[in-house]
């Protein structure tokens, strides 16, 4: 099998991955009122309709607040746990790591059911608190994986130098370790935000009636029919969830070249 053939095959696979996404973006600018092919012209009317759609805007705010809170909590828990696992000899380290990664090993549906039923039994029914708890627990492993990978590469002697010069462990953490760890913290937080912002599998189980996040809003709009408004919403989501990490990566890269590392 020649290299040319492999290249052709790979291009076809890329096409398969991108074709439907391109269709979403194209159709969101469609002037045609049915939102279907053939396109009759370019227009921003569907984005305007989105802007004026109260339900969609409400869903956006919910998703944004939920994603930000998830990112903050998950990153704090993840950074602390990663520090313990990388910087100390903890007995049973493998078991602890497995436990912390467990939320992504358990199918999300099962996690969703278990959390819903248990917290409900404790008296916390379907609510924003339940949503937040759920989102934190399944974004945590990703934060830990990202932060741990970076922490391993930060040399211990820099921290020891600071401590030998009289800095306390807390001072050392805030003035040495944390700045060095910042790219990973930012990446972890961004990861947590995007996963939370995109989630639907767990969210449909946990959300209280009447509250929608962007994905569940799209899901309920799909039940009616696929209107170009959904495609416009899709385009905004794509910009947010693909644009943000790319922007983050670009910023991280420019920061690290400035520092010369």
């Amino acid at each position: 099998m020649g290299w040319g053939l492999i290249r052709l095959y790979a291009i076809a696979v890329y096409g398969f991955m991108f074709l439907p996404v391109v269709a979403v973006v194209l159709l969101s600018f469609n002037a045609n009122q049915f939102g279907s092919f053939p396109m009759t012209g370019l227009s921003l009317r569907w984005f305007e309709a989105l802007w004026n759609n109260d339900a969609v805007m409400r869903a956006f705010r919910t998703s944004l607040v939920l994603g930000l809170m998830t990112a903050v909590i998950s990153t704090m828990l993840g950074v602390l746990a990663s520090l313990a696992l990388v910087r100390y000899d903890v007995p049973g380290k493998n078991l602890i790591t497995t436990a912390l990664i467990a939320p992504i090993l358990v199918p999300e549906v099962v996690l969703a059911v278990a959390l819903l039923l248990f917290l409900n039994w404790l008296g916390i029914g379907k609510s924003f608190a339940l949503l937040l708890a759920g989102h934190v627990i399944f974004t945590l492993p990703f934060v830990i994986l990202v932060v741990q990978a970076r922490l391993v590469s930060i040399r211990r002697d820099v921290e020891e130098a600071a401590m030998s010069l009289g800095a306390s462990p807390v001072q050392t953490f805030f003035s040495i370790t944390l700045p060095l760890l910042m790219p990973a913290v930012a990446a972890g937080a961004l990861f947590a935000f995007t996963i939370s912002f995109d989630d639907i599998t767990g969210t449909l189980f946990w959300k209280p009636g009447g509250v929608e996040t962007v994905p569940t809003q799209i899901f309920s709009m799909l039940r009616n029919s696929i209107s170009p408004e959904i495609n416009a919403l899709g385009t905004v989501m794509i910009l947010l969830t693909v644009g943000l990490p790319l922007l983050g990566a670009a910023i991280a890269r420019s920061l690290s070249t400035k520092r010369g590392t």
Binding site: I6, R7, Y9, A10, V13, Y14, F16, M17, P20, V21, A23, V24, S36, F37, P38, M76, L77, L80, A81, L85, Y88, V90, A99, I101, A102, I104, V106, P107, E108, V109, V110, L111, V113, A114, L115, L117, F118, L119, W121, V136, I137, I144, L145, F197, D198, T201, L204, F205, V214, P215, I218, F219, L222, I226, G234, M237, I238, T241, V242, P245
Partner: protein
């Protein structure tokens, strides 16, 4: 308190919030639904605590549930095989490309960042009655009436492959990158054709990555209920749809507990077999 004892306590202080969260929000809830699955939902809507096997008997013997379970495993298996067939050559292309590998890999991972629901519903634009394929074929005069391509099992599998392919590519890519290319050169210099050296050197060495990707595709595919709801017809339910039905629609939480645990056990057996032969480290490599 001595310094040593304080030192020894520090990591636990750092770990306790995360471990507490996982314990309280995952491990205890899982144990809780084990207990819950033996309770009964009474006709009045309340739950009767106790030790009843009814939910388990229903989950394990109901022919409809068994049919859906087998069908779910079948769909996941087909999806996994298709992901391997599409993903392996693509990963090989990226790993052995002389161009900018990072850009190629990033391009393949881009759709991974796009929301699952968007990627799933995007297929309606392609396969729907007024989608790209139908309107294209009609414009060409190949067909006069739109073909019914949505809301069947094939559409569900297509959606799942599109969703899971990046996992496969990434895992295979990581393992291909780890292979010393000198090995292939050595095989060729000893007289093997490129195809032979691929079959006897590269492919076997990349099998761990293929297995890790396959496991992820299978487990994630078998646990979904959104794709069948969006792209499948009324008869294309998967096992997670039964869980969703029991919990959200019928509000029969004890039965829902038993069904989710059954799904967890079936998939858990697969993960355990994988762990026995290949270990979790390979999986972490592909995720990180």
């Amino acid at each position: 308190m001595s310094i040593e004892r304080r030192e020894a306590r520090q990591p636990w202080i750092l770990l306790s919030p995360a471990l507490g969260a996982v314990g309280l929000l995952l491990i205890v809830p899982l144990l809780f639904i084990v207990v819950y699955s033996f309770w009964l939902r009474s006709a009045t809507g309340g739950d009767t605590a106790g030790f009843h096997l009814d939910n388990w008997i229903k989950a394990l013997t109901d022919p409809f549930y068994r049919y859906i379970l087998l069908n779910t495993l079948k769909i996941a298996a087909i999806t996994t095989v298709l992901c391997a067939l599409l993903g392996y050559p693509a990963a090989y292309f990226i790993a052995r490309s002389k161009g900018n590998k990072m850009i190629l890999l990033l391009l393949m991972m881009l759709p991974f960042w796009i929301s699952y629901i968007i990627r799933t519903m995007s297929w309606i634009n392609i396969l729907g009655a007024s989608g790209a394929l139908n309107s294209g074929l009609m414009a060409l005069g190949v067909i006069n009436e739109p073909l019914q391509m949505l809301y069947n099992e094939a559409a569900v599998i297509l959606g799942l492959v599109h969703f899971l392919l990046p996992f496969m590519v990434l895992n295979v890519y990581v393992s291909l990158e780890g292979i010393d290319t000198n090995l292939e050169d050595a095989a060729t210099s000893l007289g093997a054709t490129r195809w032979q050296s691929f079959l006897q050197v590269t492919l076997p060495l990349s099998l761990p990555g293929l297995a890790a990707g396959g496991l992820l595709c299978f487990v994630l595919g078998a646990g979904t209920y959104i794709t069948p709801l969006v792209l499948g017809g009324p008869r294309d339910a998967m096992f997670a749809n039964l869980v969703f039905e029991a919990i959200i629609t019928q509000l029969n939480w004890p039965l829902g507990s038993a069904l989710s645990l059954l799904l967890l056990m079936v998939l858990g057996v697969l993960v355990a077999i994988y762990n026995r032969y290949l270990g979790m480290a390979q999986l972490a490599k592909g995720l990180g």
